[in-house]
Symmetry: C2
Subunit: 155 residues, 2 copies
C-alpha cells in the first residue's frame, strides 16, 4: 500500500521530466486510503521557485478540501522533502510523511537540498545568505496587534 | 533606507491583521532600490498553509519579472523567516535578507516558527512528524532520467 503510493509519486516525477515540465520530483496526498491530490515540480514551467512537488500537492489538497490544514492526511514524496517543503508539511499539519530517495540523492543530481539542510540550523551571521536584523522593537508591533485581536483565526 | 523598507513590511503585517486577511507578517522584495513585489500572510483567507508573506512576495516578484530566480533582488521581512520561507529564499537565489522581529517573537505570539527550527535539523526518526523511508532504490530513477536528459532546464 505505502509502496504503491510512493511508486505513484515516483511515476509523477518521471513523467514530469519526460514532459519537460520541471524537476524530477512528485508527491501524492492521501486521506483514508484515497488520493486527495497530486503534485509535481513546476519551478521552471511555472517560473515559481516555490513550486516544488510537495508544495504543489499541499496547495491542491487544501483547495480541494477547502481547508488550510491537512490533519488526517498523509504525504508520499518521491524524494525526501527539502527544508522548504518539510516546513510546509509541518505548517499543513500532515499526519505522516513517506519518501523514497534521500536529499543526498537529490544533491547528487545537482539540487541544493543538502546544502539548504546545512544552512537552516546555522546562526544567521554564519549562513551564506547575507542577513541583517534591524528595528526589532518595531517588528514586534504586528504581534501585539495580533495577540490583542479577538476576532483572529489562528493557524 | 533598509529601515524604511522594513517599516513598509511591518505596515503590511499590521494592515493584514487589521483587515482580517491573515497572520501578522509582511514582506517586500526590492531590486536596485525599487520595490518589485509585496506579500502578506494569507494562510487563512486563501486556505493555503504555504501562503506566508515571504512566499507570497517571492511568487509575486517571479510573476512580475517572468523568472524563476530573483538574483539581484533583496527581501525585507517583518519577521525572521520560518524554515519554509528561509528555504524558499535560498531556492529563489535572493541576494540578501533583512528582518525585524525574530522567530522567538513569532513563537511568543503563538506561531510554530521556533518549533519547526528545532525539527528541521533532526534525523527523520527523531522528528515529531512520523516519517518512513521506503523503496529508496526505485526513488533514484527520476534522478537518473533527469541527469541523462540533455534538454532539461536546471534550477
Amino acid at each position: 500500500m505505502h509502496e504503491e503510493l510512493l511508486r505513484r509519486a515516483i511515476r509523477l516525477a518521471v513523467e514530469n521530466v519526460q514532459s519537460g515540465r520541471g524537476g524530477p520530483f512528485g508527491a501524492v496526498i492521501v486521506r483514508d486510503g484515497e488520493v486527495v491530490a497530486e503534485g509535481a515540480n513546476r519551478v521552471t514551467s511555472d517560473k515559481d521557485p516555490t513550486a516544488h512537488a510537495e508544495i504543489q500537492a499541499i496547495r491542491a489538497a487544501c483547495l480541494k478540501l477547502g481547508r488550510f490544514d491537512l490533519r488526517g492526511c498523509v504525504i508520499y514524496s518521491s524524494c525526501e522533502p527539502c527544508p522548504m517543503c518539510l516546513g510546509a508539511i509541518y505548517w499543513a499539519r500532515l499526519d505522516a510523511l513517506y519518501f523514497a530517495a534521500t536529499h543526498n540523492d537529490a544533491s547528487a543530481a545537482g539540487f541544493d537540498d543538502s546544502f539548504i539542510y546545512t544552512q537552516v540550523p546555522l546562526k544567521a551571521e554564519l549562513r551564506s545568505l547575507p542577513t541583517k536584523r534591524l528595528i526589532e522593537a518595531e517588528g514586534k508591533q504586528p504581534f501585539a496587534i495580533w495577540v490583542a485581536n479577538e476576532s483572529k483565526i489562528p493557524y
